[in-house]
């Protein structure tokens, strides 16, 4: 994005460019380095088991990764989230579509979706355990419930954004309803669904991990709880670090996919 903006001719000062500034990633890694340094100093000052330093945690991260435990547990969490997210899409797409087309249905669904979207994560986690017991079902259902409002509300926004003029164009050229859904509605809502997916995924992941803390036999949340029970603070932090890294990677992946999907938004070169 930023390269596109920079490449545009600026009015008035046709030759001069903005002074070269440090790239974004350099600045944000700088922030990371500062934070890690601060942590290292703090842990050196405290000098206690409850405050392991960055190196110690890094060691645990490497151990966990090399032993394969990281892969196993992340895979287990991600499979549950994806399953939940699949359910959320199955429910959210038609609900959102209906809300976008009908004012009545929009009012009808707005309250339930609002409630679903605002129930505290902890409540979901506890209810997941009470209703489904220890196992995979609880986390799957919980991540589906958390993601549904994000998907539905964004799909509805996308459907509302469809230009009536384009629909009339389709009609004038005798396009079938199936063609209109495929070539007009779906592309129009994709951008909105994408926003829903990015936020919904982050939310679903957090609540899912919380659910695993209470009722699971594996997964990242479960590993964090086990480390807590065994009083392994370094392990807890290591799992948390891995959790954050995984979220950043997924976020980056989605962003890359987004720029590929939305190539049509490129301005005049």
């Amino acid at each position: 994005m930023s390269t596109l903006v920079a490449a545009r001719p600026s009015v008035g000062r046709s030759k001069s460019r903005r002074p070269a500034s440090a790239p974004r990633w350099l600045v944000s890694s700088g922030a990371l380095v500062v934070a890690v340094l601060a942590w290292g100093i703090a842990s050196a000052v405290v000098d206690d088991n409850i405050a392991p330093g960055p190196l110690e945690v890094l060691e645990r991260v490497v151990d966990i990764t090399v032993s394969g435990a990281a892969l196993d547990n992340f895979a287990s969490s991600i499979v549950k989230i994806l399953a939940g997210f699949g359910l959320a899409m199955l429910a959210g797409l038609p609900i959102g579509f209906a809300m976008g087309r009908s004012r009545f249905l929009s009012s009808y669904f707005s309250m339930p979706l609002f409630v679903l979207g605002n129930v505290p994560g902890l409540t979901y986690a506890v209810f997941g355990l009470v209703i489904f017991g220890v196992g995979a079902t609880g986390p799957i259902v919980v991540s589906a419930l958390v993601a549904v409002p994000f998907v539905a509300i964004n799909v509805a926004e996308g459907v509302r954004s469809v230009d009536g003029k384009l629909l009339r164009m389709c009609q004038a050229f005798g396009r079938s309803p199936a063609d209109v859904v495929r070539h007009v509605y779906l592309p129009a809502i994709t951008a909105f669904v994408f926003v829903g997916v990015r936020y919904g995924f982050a939310m679903a992941w957090k609540v899912e991990a919380l659910t695993e803390v209470f009722g699971a036999r594996d997964g990242v949340g479960f590993m964090i709880r086990r480390a807590y029970q065994e009083f392994q603070v370094a392990d807890m932090l290591a799992w948390t670090t891995l959790f954050v890294v995984a979220m950043v990677l997924i976020e980056r992946g989605l962003a890359a996919l987004e720029s590929r999907l939305f190539a049509w938004r490129k301005d005049l070169a």
Binding site: R168, R175, H183, T190, R265, D267
Partner: protein, 254 residues
């Protein structure tokens, strides 16, 4: 051979309070064969509404509209006032999208894109084209379905004078090469005289005020004296009508 037959066409709009506005009031119009017909008329006289009803986008209150091509229903191509391209599809994909007939569509699309001078831009997205180029894609799209009937609603009115003159020339050239039954809506009497075989003047209130046959050789140049004379004459008549429309509007309390 294609034909458009409109008889006793009436269109009412109803507002929320249930008040009725009659926009078209008994239109009779028959267009047969490879005829280029322009619909001119003051703003609000129902030109777009007429075109939308003919294309089937809008319903009508009474009367009959039939589009025929031989013994089957006619195929319609529509050029709108704005390009109306799918922003998420390339130029080629936009043309592909409207095809009824998948056979040989790529050659047809290429052919008409070449005719509007955009043969090399098939891979671009609409956002990567200028306004005039987008409008030309809209024209190529309408021709590429090989329509029996071509409807155009002020296709050049959003463009600057030079672009619209070039596109007018493009349009006449394409039409001469692949003649169709055309209904062309415009504000611009000069444009109507240059392009049409017949000019139908709509009056405010939505009825046909008069019909003018234009019997001049083609291709026509705006600089041709015969064209200029007819343009001046039609313009004079049109101005009378517009003045009357303005007076009628002034009588209605705001």
């Amino acid at each position: 051979m294609a034909s458009i037959d409109i008889s006793g066409l009436v269109k009412d709009y109803h507002d929320r309070a249930g008040n009725r506005t009659r926009v078209l009031d008994g239109i009779d119009l028959s267009i047969t064969g490879e005829t280029f017909v322009s619909i001119v008329g003051p703003s609000g006289s129902g030109k777009t509404t007429l075109l939308n009803i003919v294309s089937g986008i809008e319903s009508h209150t009474a009367g009959n509209v039939s589009l025929r091509a031989g013994d089957r229903d006619a195929r319609v191509g529509y050029v709108f006032q704005d390009p109306r391209l799918l922003p998420w599809r390339t130029v080629d994909q936009n043309l592909s999208f409207v095809q009824h007939d998948r056979d040989g569509w790529a050659e047809r699309a290429q052919h008409y894109l070449d005719l509007v001078g955009l043969g090399h831009l098939g891979d671009r997205f609409p956002a990567q084209l200028s306004g005039g180029q987008q409008q030309r894609v809209g024209i190529a799209r309408a021709f590429s379905v090989e329509p029996d009937i071509l409807l155009m609603d002020e296709p050049f009115s959003h463009l600057d004078a030079m672009t619209s003159r070039t596109l007018r020339e493009h349009l006449e050239r394409i039409w001469l090469e692949s003649r169709r039954t055309v209904m062309f809506v415009t504000h611009d009497v000069t444009e109507a005289v240059q392009l049409s075989d017949r000019i139908v003047v709509l009056a405010p209130g939505g009825h046909v005020h008069e019909t003018i046959e234009v019997d001049l050789p083609r291709p026509r140049r705006a600089s041709d004296p015969a064209v200029a004379v007819l343009q001046a004459e039609v313009l004079a008549r049109f101005e009378v009508l517009e003045a009357r429309a303005a007076a009628a509007r002034a009588e209605v309390p705001a």
